[in-house]
């Protein structure tokens, strides 16, 4: 009887407890992302690695936001006014924005940041963004006035990566070496995410800033975890230890795509990049003083370059080197640059017979003494140089050795030989520009969202400064460059930039083998809302991370 009573008592207590207990709180929604690196530093002035910028973009706000479709929208500013002469920009900053530590963000923080970046030449990326700024002032808490020293067409791209820092934190570290040595461990910003925990080389843990003025995240936390090798990344997403990986080897894409609950996505990268086959076209006339300019004379002839373009099977390069994860390239301006990319150009079709005919018609006959390799000059007097090009690439390039091998095979079909050689990147820089001590190089560029940087590479003026790697010189191109660099009308500037691409494509200044795609993988059973339907792809971008929600 006593036992029964005790049992009933326990049951009653249990029921009571069950009824009165608070409902179990929902576990926090934590998105885990695997990536191959780790920020080098949390100081935006001195940071170099992409991984650092990925975090900055989530933790800080900037004057503009760069969208996945390649456009800009106002970020911290609610309006902008440009003076009639195009030299003064007046921004109205939104009021009521707070840093993660509760302090208000005002125009003075914005002006402080830009002035800080301008004052420190040793900020490798941030300082150049202030090159065109003469003065930055904040007359009141909501107004920033930027006075330029010359008209520029791309103020957005100059401001979009200048993350606004809290003056009250940075003030003490703004002068001299302190600005470089400041580790910025608290990473106080105003962005959609705030730093919770950071272990260099291990992980970055970010918490949601649900009070963000425009993009409050729907998840509670995002954790970026570093994996030391790509195989581990692939395994991490396929076993569900992470919800998304920002990179994976192309070779793993097919198999991973078949894994349950994993989706592999690919598109043009958010950060545009381009691979190029560089022809040395520096002539004795354009050769800068003290430069070697030893390029093979044949490459100075447009016909030869066009023939090489016809003899290059870009699709094969894409299939072999990228396992299909790329699109055939046109010019140095990659498809990732959105509206600036001239997609109307008709590429040189792969046609070795046509290439042979072009060279035959131009008089480049095979030299009798060189095993079928053509002479580098028409008619071919005895002892002339031959089309046996030195082909160099930086020794840290993964794809270049195979590309050189494939190109050698393709060009052999048209009587062109290559002498391939990998060279240390710094030694190659010394051979490249402005020394022009090579024939062909396989290299590449990363680009800003604005085309100015890459367009500058093909200017005559850049030959002497070392920015030009081809020695290409075209007066009309130079004139168009000058025009576009002061054209404030977006459509008109686009037309100029497209025309410039047409010119360099017609002159076959480079062969652009491909634009490599960004390949990422995501789990479909954990979160929805990843942005995968745009022209460009970056699932670690703020656009995706503020949008994802847990799968119910």
């Amino acid at each position: 009887m006593r036992k029964l009573f005790r049992l009933l008592l326990m049951l009653a207590c249990g029921l009571l407890a069950a009824c009165t207990a608070a409902p179990t709180p929902e576990p926090p929604a934590v998105a885990r992302i695997g990536y191959g690196g780790s920020p080098d530093t949390l100081n935006p002035g001195t940071a170099v690695l992409t991984e650092a910028y990925t975090i900055f973009a989530l933790v800080y706000d900037a004057m503009y936001t760069y969208n996945l479709d390649g456009t800009y929208s106002l970020g911290l500013a609610e309006s902008v006014d440009r003076s009639a002469d195009g030299l003064t920009y007046t921004y109205k900053i939104r009021s009521g924005i707070k840093f993660h530590d509760g302090q208000p963000l005002t125009a003075r923080d914005v002006a402080f940041t830009y002035n800080l970046n301008k004052a420190h030449a040793e900020y490798p990326y941030m300082n150049p963004y202030t090159a065109s700024m003469e003065s930055i002032t904040a007359p009141d808490d909501t107004t920033v006035v930027i006075r330029l020293n010359a008209v520029i067409p791309n103020i957005e791209s100059q401001l979009v990566f200048q993350y606004v820092l809290p003056a009250h934190v940075w003030q003490a570290h703004a002068a001299g070496a302190a600005a470089v040595e400041f580790e910025n461990e608290t990473l106080i910003g105003s962005g959609p995410f705030k730093l919770l925990e950071y272990k260099q080389g291990e992980f970055v843990r970010l918490g949601a800033n649900k009070q963000h003025f425009s993009r409050p995240p729907k998840v509670d936390e995002v954790i970026f975890q570093t994996f030391g090798n790509p195989d581990a990344l692939v395994q991490a997403v396929s076993t569900g230890q992470v919800d998304m990986i920002t990179e994976l080897p192309n070779a793993a894409a097919e198999k991973l795509g078949k894994a349950p609950n994993v989706k592999v996505v690919s598109a043009a990268p958010f950060a545009p990049a381009v691979s190029d086959i560089i022809f040395n076209q520096a002539t004795s006339a354009s050769c800068p003083s003290k430069s070697a300019c030893t390029g093979n004379v044949a490459l100075q002839d447009r016909q030869v370059r066009v023939a090489l373009a016809h003899a290059t099977n870009k699709q094969q390069l894409i299939d072999v080197l990228l396992l299909g994860k790329g699109t055939p390239g046109l010019t140095l301006i990659p498809n990732g640059l959105g509206m600036w990319f001239n997609n109307s150009l008709q590429d040189y079709e792969y046609n070795p017979a046509k290439a042979n005919k072009i060279l035959d018609d131009a008089g480049y006959v095979p030299a009798g003494w060189s095993d079928g390799i053509r002479c580098a000059v028409p008619v071919c007097p005895y002892g002339s140089p031959i089309m046996n090009f030195r082909m160099y690439w930086p020794s840290d390039s993964v794809d270049a050795p195979r590309m050189a091998e494939l190109l050698a095979g393709m060009w052999k079909e048209i009587g062109v030989g290559v002498q391939p050689q990998a060279i240390d990147p710094d030694a190659l820089t010394a051979l490249c520009c402005p020394a022009f001590d090579f024939d062909i190089m396989l290299w590449g560029w990363g680009s800003d969202p604005d085309p100015n940087l890459l367009l500058n590479v093909m200017r005559t003026e850049s030959i002497a400064t070392g920015s030009s790697e081809t020695g290409y010189s075209n007066a009309r191109y130079d004139a168009l460059y000058e025009q576009q660099s002061v054209e404030l009308d977006l459509k008109k500037r686009q037309a100029l930039v497209w025309e410039m691409q047409r010119l360099v494509h017609e002159d076959a200044v480079y062969i652009i083998p491909y634009y490599e795609m960004q390949v990422q993988a995501v789990r479909t059973d954990r979160f929805t809302g990843w942005i995968v339907d745009q022209n460009k792809l970056d699932l670690s971008d703020v656009s995706s991370l503020v949008n994802i929600t847990p799968v119910k």
Binding site: E122, P124, N127, E202, T239
Partner: protein, 344 residues
């Protein structure tokens, strides 16, 4: 020779070696091609002023030595410079003050960086090596005692296979297997975000992260210890005094423990001591596979980035650990076998 004298002599030669390594370390990395200021920054917009500022900050604007502006490319410089204002002197001076410099890449003091990394490596190594030593020695003794039986052959074959496995490959296989079928973590030391969890949860999480890298290391080193233990044990077991011990009616365990093991332990102690020194560097591969934030990973990353201060610091640490391990082996050896001391 007196024990104190022996210790002094050994310690003296160890110090000399460390001094030599200090000098060598400085020059070793400076002959590497590449400008450290540019190694990480490939942006063509980087101005000359920015490059100069970075050079100045890390002292790269100063000549390496009088008459030598840099080692790569070998560039001559002015000979009439204040030797105190050369990179080499500043390096030595900093070292004497216990400073290893600032990492070019992460901009944090190298000492601080290496301390954290060394601790992580030590955790990884102590677990793996302890297991390898215990299992290797026990397996070797068993194989020798059971020589030419199935147990012996099995031990031999397994050891030879394990010894010939490439560390990187074995690590990857275990990583795939362990994460897929045992649900073990793929990389790192702790699951990020566990800081708020209880101590017990953190402890079990750390233990789970240790399983695969420890297993990899154990398999790789166990084979070496087992084979060496087995062969020395076989030699010892053929000695007359073992026969005498058996004849006295001692148990197998007593014969092995009191008569055979101590004599057979000498080579294994040498190997273990040497390995302890070398495995600090040998952990590079295991750390790379399992994303373990240790010293090996730091070296691996720093080579690509021309991060001289980190490399100098790490190599100094490696050299010191090998030298100290050698010294300990020497001392231990002479303590275990007085004949060695007499011979010195």
């Amino acid at each position: 020779m007196h024990a104190g004298q022996l210790l002094l002599r050994k310690a003296g030669s160890a110090l000399l070696t460390i001094g030599f390594v200090l000098v060598l370390n400085f020059f070793l990395f400076r002959v590497l091609p590449g400008d450290p200021a540019r190694a990480g920054i490939k942006d063509p917009r980087m101005t000359r002023a920015a490059q100069a500022a970075i050079h100045e900050r890390f002292g790269l604007d100063k000549p390496v030595l009088p008459c030598l502006a840099s080692l790569n490319p070998l560039r001559r410089g002015p000979c009439l410079v204040n030797p105190l204002q050369t990179q080499f002197f500043i390096y030595v001076n900093n070292l004497l003050h216990g400073e290893l410099g600032i990492s070019y890449h992460t901009k944090i003091p190298v000492g601080q960086l290496l301390r954290a990394r060394l601790w992580n490596t030590a955790v990884l190594l102590s677990a793996g090596q302890t297991l390898a030593i215990v299992l290797g020695v026990a397996g070797g003794v068993l194989a020798a005692w059971q020589a030419h039986t199935r147990i012996d052959y099995a031990a031999l074959i397994i050891s030879l296979v394990a010894w010939s496995l490439p560390t990187f490959w074995l690590g990857l296989i275990l990583l795939f297997w362990g994460s897929r079928y045992a649900g073990l973590p793929i990389g790192g030391q702790l699951t990020p975000g566990l800081a708020a969890a209880g101590t017990w949860a953190q402890f079990t999480d750390a233990a789970r992260h240790l399983v695969l890298p420890t297993l990899t290391q154990t398999i790789i080193y166990l084979a070496e210890y087992l084979l060496i233990m087995r062969s020395t044990m076989l030699d010892v077991l053929a000695e007359d005094y073992i026969l005498t011990a058996k004849a006295k009616g001692l148990s197998t365990f007593q014969v092995l423990k009191d008569h055979a093991l101590r004599n057979a332990a000498l080579p294994i102690i040498t190997i273990v001591a040497l390995n302890l020194g070398f495995t600090v560097a040998g952990a590079v591969q295991i750390e790379a596979v399992f994303s373990w934030p240790g010293l090996g990973q730091a070296i691996f990353e720093s080579v690509a980035r021309r991060d001289y201060p980190v490399l100098q610091g790490a190599f100094l640490l490696l050299a010191v650990s090998v030298i100290v391990a050698n010294l300990l082996a020497d001392l231990l050896y002479s303590w275990l076998d007085p004949r060695v001391q007499a011979a010195l």
